[in-house]
């Protein structure tokens, strides 16, 4: 639901009950110790990622507590290189004997891989030298305990249920809190540690529709800071309004029409677009944008950037997954594709330099990833995008209909039919389709309402024409 956070890769929730807080210094000690062990075991080079997180999740449904989940989780990921052969391994066993054996086994495992000169660690001069404080830690988050989480969930859900008697059921209200630390150490010449907090709250009411169908809707709030969360009651009310608006949803006739994407729906399209601007996809010849740098790949209204350095940003990071300094990268400006994002490997494969865009999880090696991916807002008030004689406003997209290799795009959609500049009635069970290249080139308006709740951020935007399949 929320976007990329520090603990996106560490599975699951965790324990406040008498449990230590994740400590970046301790993570860093483990990382550096592991690095020494790996080199001692015979690795020519190694890099270590340690993550430690606590998570709390509480859920209330129809006024009753449904779930209290609390736990702490810690894991270590290692990449070793010996004679140009690489192995990627992970463990949750932090005992001294366990770590030593893990180092030896990882180095042995690398012998199975084949020599890959391009897979070497980054050059020393590429590494980050400082670790910027991006203001990702909020002490106040720690004081939100089980009781307070449950209280917020009760208030939010009750507000939704009270708004209108047509709100007949609920999939509940969920409060979530994660607190995490991570450290990265590499023999290429970098060691750093960071910590972060994240809180989220969502309410999902359900209405009974006339035809026996049920209609569900959701509204949520998320922030790295406790003070950044919307009021639970306001979230509940907005969730109920969104759900009520879907009552009476129907199909519409098949045909072409202009389509307005809400930030909630547009976010997934922005993520898919950035996915085909990955250097990993480029060297794998797995993007329809291969060979298109410097050319128009979207409407001149489109500006797309990846910015890891936003203070308090959901996807912010001080350094990338290989220890290179984070930097802001412009992918598209004036509709022109300016660059593909690269980690060190993709850059070597393509004869370029890394853009500092490596993502790294405990369970896998570095790969090209995004931090805060932003389709820049325009100046048009979002409401004006709906000034159409006829068109579709899309609130939800579903399914797996994007093929980044060929650029074919088709997804299930729901939203509202627009007539005479007004939302005339709710729409469901239709698909929207176009070639992805056409979709982005046909953007004819970009709203001013950037939604910053998640790490993929966009405003409302409009595509002049797509195919709708319905009745």
């Amino acid at each position: 639901m929320s976007g990329a956070t520090f603990d996106k890769m560490t599975p699951g929730p965790v324990a406040a009950t008498g449990r230590r807080l994740p400590d970046p210094k301790q993570c860093q000690r483990f990382a550096e110790q592991m690095l020494r062990l790996a080199l001692k075991a015979g690795a020519d080079g190694a890099e270590v990622l340690v993550r430690d997180g606590n998570e709390l999740e509480v859920k209330v449904r129809l006024g009753e507590t449904e779930l209290i989940k609390e736990a702490g989780s810690r894991a270590l990921g290692l990449r070793v290189i010996k004679q140009q052969r690489a192995a990627v391994t992970y463990t949750s066993d932090f005992s001294p004997a366990g770590l030593e054996r893990f180092a030896r086994d990882s180095v042995d495992l690398a012998a199975l891989a084949e020599p890959d000169p391009e897979g070497a660690l980054p050059a020393r001069e590429e590494m980050a030298r400082t670790v910027a404080d991006l203001d990702l830690w909020d002490e106040a988050v720690l004081s939100i305990d089980v009781a307070e989480g449950l209280r917020r969930a009760r208030v939010g859900e009750a507000a939704a249920l009270k708004l209108d008697k047509r709100v007949t059921n609920s999939d509940g209200a969920v409060f979530g809190r994660t607190v995490g630390a991570s450290a990265f150490a590499t023999s290429a010449g970098f060691s750093g540690a960071v910590r972060g907090t994240h809180v989220s709250f969502a309410v999902e009411p359900i209405c009974d529709d006339a035809d026996g169908k049920k209609r569900n809707g959701v509204y949520w709030t998320a922030s790295r800071f406790a003070s950044g969360l919307a009021d639970p009651e306001a979230v509940g009310l907005e969730a109920a309004r969104r759900t009520l608006a879907k009552l009476g949803s129907r199909k519409i006739p098949t045909g072409a029409a202009p389509i307005v994407f809400s930030p909630d729906a547009g976010r997934s399209l922005v993520g898919q677009l950035a996915g085909v601007m990955s250097g990993g996809a480029l060297w794998r010849r797995s993007t329809y944008l291969a060979g298109r740098e410097g050319t128009l790949v979207a409407s001149p209204l489109c500006e797309l950037l990846d910015d890891p350095l936003i203070p308090r940003g959901p996807g912010s990071r001080a350094f990338d997954g290989e220890g290179l300094p984070s930097r802001t990268n412009v992918l598209v400006s004036g509709g022109i594709l300016r660059t593909f994002l690269c980690d060190v490997y993709a850059a070597r494969k393509l004869g370029r330099r890394s853009t500092g865009s490596a993502a790294r999880a405990v369970g896998g090696g570095p790969h090209v990833g995004f931090s805060n991916l932003i389709l820049r807002p325009g100046r048009t008030p979002a409401a004006e995008l709906e000034r159409l004689d006829r068109g579709l406003y899309v609130t939800d997209l579903m399914g797996f209909g994007f093929n980044g290799v060929s650029g074919d795009y088709s997804q299930g959609a729901a939203g509202f039919w627009i007539e005479g500049g007004e939302r005339a009635f709710p729409v469901g069970e239709i698909t929207v389709s176009a070639s992805f290249d056409d979709l982005w080139k046909r953007v004819d308006a970009v709203g001013d309402d950037l939604d910053t709740r998640s790490s993929v951020q966009c405003p409302t935007f409009r595509v002049s024409e797509m195919m709708i399949a319905g009745t």
Partner: protein
């Protein structure tokens, strides 16, 4: 390791079989102490889920094994139920004090109540649904890499327009021990192997990808099964990529659709499977809630969820809350006869659990989940089904699907499909979607083939952020009308 001793150790990567499992040290007495602690605040039920998972993966890209990966996770999840409410906690440290702390944390869901009575656990006898003749972890890594190479060579040899091949093999051995406060103790060893090939084809400015793969609770013997050799997957990936080079725009709008045997089981999974999971019906958030005994599909349709199929990807000797895997009929000749139950929902409904309580890992609470879900065969000749269509779409392979439980709308993405014109398959179609409503579409099943197939088995199902492996299957079927999400109007 001793029952109260320190952190169990992961098997070293070199050792080919987890020789002594860390779970060996968990005895009934320790489990009983932990369950008593979990129920100390008044919960009515508790369970322990110990899990040791070893995984390895091998990837061949552009003819080279770039990296090899391996990992081990170990932990305990403790769940406490009080009424319909769940308390959950877990720990990766299996020292007794850490496990007791997790048990008490999970117990906080209950705030008052009687101390638990004596708990006595005994082993549940289990069938062996996944006999393995050649355990993959016992084989050297080089043998697995050789398989990747064979797939790579076969895909490249298939056509000069294949410009890139990637092949991967992943293996996993999951040892679980489930102990419940009502006395079940079940230990299971769950193997999984997955093989996949993707091939990129280029011609002119056009670029397409094809994928083929197989998976199941097998060892290396999977590669001797029909259609599962590395060469067959390599050639199939190449065939799909090449075939798509000349694909035409898919039509848009409602039309007759024929779904091929096997992979099309995704329709059942999305259109009815999720909607028949008991939690959604207990909460009345599913569009199938309150419809038990009613006609919800064409009388041709009998839908079964079966966790007992030998070596299938979704099969389970025991579910993740200590109940043995079962075969459950969900819809019989169009009539809704059963939901998939976990313990929590079964207690709510006052019936027995159906062996569908599954979880992604020790970090996750169990939920009612599918195992292998399929549509039983009919009697029509598959050829006749295609011949009966004047203009429509024939769909054979899919990349994924999604359903909205509440309103029943579902969508699934086609990666291999063809136009049907005058009863014959003609042009291949570009990637598109089918969208429909579960109960409405199942009422429109008008022909059902006798050619039942299970999918080759690479499916993973996601729900509430948890992924579990599942199987699907179906015979060839005809749907009188469903919306095809293409770009071309008639």
């Amino acid at each position: 390791m001793s029952a109260s001793g320190g952190i169990p150790t992961a098997p070293p990567a070199r050792v080919t079989q987890p020789a002594a499992s860390p779970l060996d040290g968990i005895d009934a007495a320790l489990a009983e102490r932990l369950l008593s602690a979990a129920l100390g605040s008044g919960g009515h039920y508790a369970d322990l889920y110990f899990e040791h998972r070893a995984g390895a993966d091998y990837v061949l890209e552009d003819g080279r094994v770039r990296t090899v990966g391996r990992g081990v996770t170990l932990g305990l999840g403790v769940r406490v139920l009080r009424g319909d409410a769940t308390g959950y906690a877990y720990t990766e440290e299996l020292a007794e004090d850490r496990m007791l702390a997790a048990a008490r944390t999970a117990g906080q869901i209950a705030s008052s109540g009687d101390a638990p009575g004596p708990i006595a656990v005994r082993p549940v006898p289990l069938a062996d649904r996944y006999p393995v003749s050649e355990p993959s972890f016992a084989r050297a890594g080089v043998d697995k890499i050789a398989l990747l190479r064979r797939a790579d060579v076969a895909a490249r040899a298939a056509d000069p327009r294949i410009v890139r091949v990637e092949a991967s093999l992943a293996e996993e051995l999951r040892e679980v021990l489930v102990v419940t406060s009502d006395g079940h103790l079940a230990r299971d060893s769950q193997p999984m192997i997955r093989f996949g090939v993707s091939a990129v084809a280029e011609e002119g400015g056009e670029r397409q990808v094809g994928r083929s793969g197989g998976a199941g609770r097998f060892g290396m013997e999977i590669f001797a099964r029909p259609g599962q050799s590395p060469e067959e997957h390599g050639r199939e990936a190449a065939r799909l990529a090449i075939g798509m080079l000349h694909a035409v725009e898919a039509p848009a709008g409602p039309m007759e659709v024929v779904l091929g045997a096997g992979e099309s089981g995704i329709l059942l999974h999305e259109a009815v499977g999720h909607g028949l999971e008991a939690d959604f019906n207990r909460k009345k958030t599913s569009n199938y809630a309150g419809q038990m005994g009613q006609t919800v599909a064409s009388p041709l349709c009998t839908v079964v969820d079966d966790g007992t199929i030998k070596n299938e990807r979704g099969s389970i000797n025991v579910d993740d809350e200590g109940n043995v895997g079962q075969r459950n009929v969900l819809i019989e000749n169009g009539v809704l006869v059963g939901y998939m139950q976990d313990r929590l929902s079964a207690r709510h409904f006052g019936i027995a659990p159906s062996g569908n309580g599954r979880r992604q890992s020790f970090r996750h609470e169990p939920l009612p989940r599918m195992t292998n879900t399929f549509l039983a065969p009919g009697t029509d000749d598959p050829e006749d089904i295609i011949k009966s269509v004047t203009r429509g779409v024939y769909a054979k392979r899919f990349s994924g699907g999604q359903v909205n439980i509440s309103n029943g709308d579902f969508v699934f993405a086609l990666t291999e499909s063809y136009l049907i014109e005058d009863g014959k398959l003609t042009a291949p179609l570009k990637g598109t979607n089918l969208i429909g409503n579960g109960p409405e579409v199942l009422r429109k099943v008008t022909m059902l083939g006798g050619d039942f197939e299970l999918s080759q088995g690479t499916w993973t199902c996601g729900k509430d952020g948890q992924s579990v492996p599942v199987g699907i299957g179906t015979p060839t079927m005809k749907i009188a009308e469903i919306t095809v999400g293409g770009t071309k109007t008639r």
